[in-house]
């Protein structure tokens, strides 16, 4: 399975690609790395965290808000980091402006309820702790080896 990383803003900007084997081994070319390197999914999570500057932030008091994608910076402030990691069917996008926000497509039901269905490319900005970001990142990584057992070997072996 292939994982893709795009860092628009952060300690290391650019695009990354990671090829993951069923046994959890991976080959990663990430922003900041001069060449592709062999690694494991577990170490990869740490590489990505370092690449995007994931770390402790003050508690986020704000509530979830729906905004046009083009106005994220107006609503959340200038980004120290902005990145997304995705695979075939899962993605995590983070906008870090002191407060960290998880960015996701806005729920159509919420859009209808709030009468903002005419908004251009609406996204939901949800404040999140670094722990929640780590959980979301781990969930995407976990999904990339969903067919494997606990020890990284195929569950059917």
């Amino acid at each position: 399975m292939r994982l893709l990383l795009r860092v628009w803003q952060g300690p290391f900007r650019g695009e990354g690609v990671v090829d993951v084997d069923p046994d959890g081994a991976a080959v990663a070319l990430l922003p900041g790395l001069p060449e592709a390197r062999p690694t494991t999914l577990d170490a990869l999570a740490e590489w990505i965290a370092a690449c995007v500057g994931l770390g402790p932030r003050p508690p986020a008091p704000a509530a979830t808000r729906i905004v046009p994608r083009a106005r994220i910076a107006d609503e959340a402030g200038r980004a120290d980091a902005h990145w997304t990691l995705w695979t075939d069917d899962r993605a995590v996008e983070v906008y870090d402006a002191g407060t960290m926000w998880l960015v996701a497509p806005a729920d159509p039901a919420v859009l209808a309820a709030e009468d903002v269905d005419a908004m251009d490319d609406p996204v939901a900005l949800r404040p999140a702790s670094a722990t929640e970001i780590w959980l979301a990142l781990s969930t995407v990584l976990r999904a990339s080896m969903a067919s494997c057992g606990d020890d990284g070997r195929p569950a059917t072996a």
């Binding site: 494991t40 577990d42 740490e46 965290a49 994931l54 770390g55 402790p56 780590w134 781990s138 976990r142």
Partner: protein, 130 residues
């Protein structure tokens, strides 16, 4: 360092987990299977300074110095989350009179999505014995 009192493990363990041998002064508990097995640890430290925020400051400085490459991912009141060498570790500190209880949950990072919330809740039940 003071010895932990004998008796029940200081946090209520998830179903199927059981206490194992103590390691370097830490009480340990494990699930019945998994490789590498996630672990919950507990120890007490006697100290004059039981300000948990100051103790967390110390841990945030000490851990990366002791383990190069260790990432401090998150911290909040009484808790800390780190990653190093493919392992994610959640810490919980609770202070009592002259003593600090430290509980930690160590798990393979690729199992954090599965185990993290459960083990964080488990550590959140750490209380100073009456």
């Amino acid at each position: 360092m003071v010895p932990d009192p004998a008796g029940r493990f200081p946090v209520r363990l998830p179903p199927g987990w059981a206490e194992g041998e103590a390691v370097d002064g830490w009480r340990t508990a494990y699930p019945p299977s998994g490789r590498p097995r996630p672990t919950i640890l507990h120890r007490t430290v006697s100290t004059c300074d039981t300000d948990v925020a100051i103790l967390l400051d110390g841990l945030c400085a000490e851990l990366p110095a002791r383990y190069p490459g260790l990432l401090v991912l998150d911290r909040s009141a009484g808790r800390l989350l780190t990653a190093h060498s493919g392992l994610t570790t959640a810490y919980r500190l609770v202070a009592g009179p002259g003593i600090v209880h430290i509980a930690a949950a160590v798990m393979p990072t690729h199992r954090y999505a599965e185990l993290g919330p459960l083990l964080e809740r488990t550590l959140g039940r750490l209380r100073v014995p009456a």
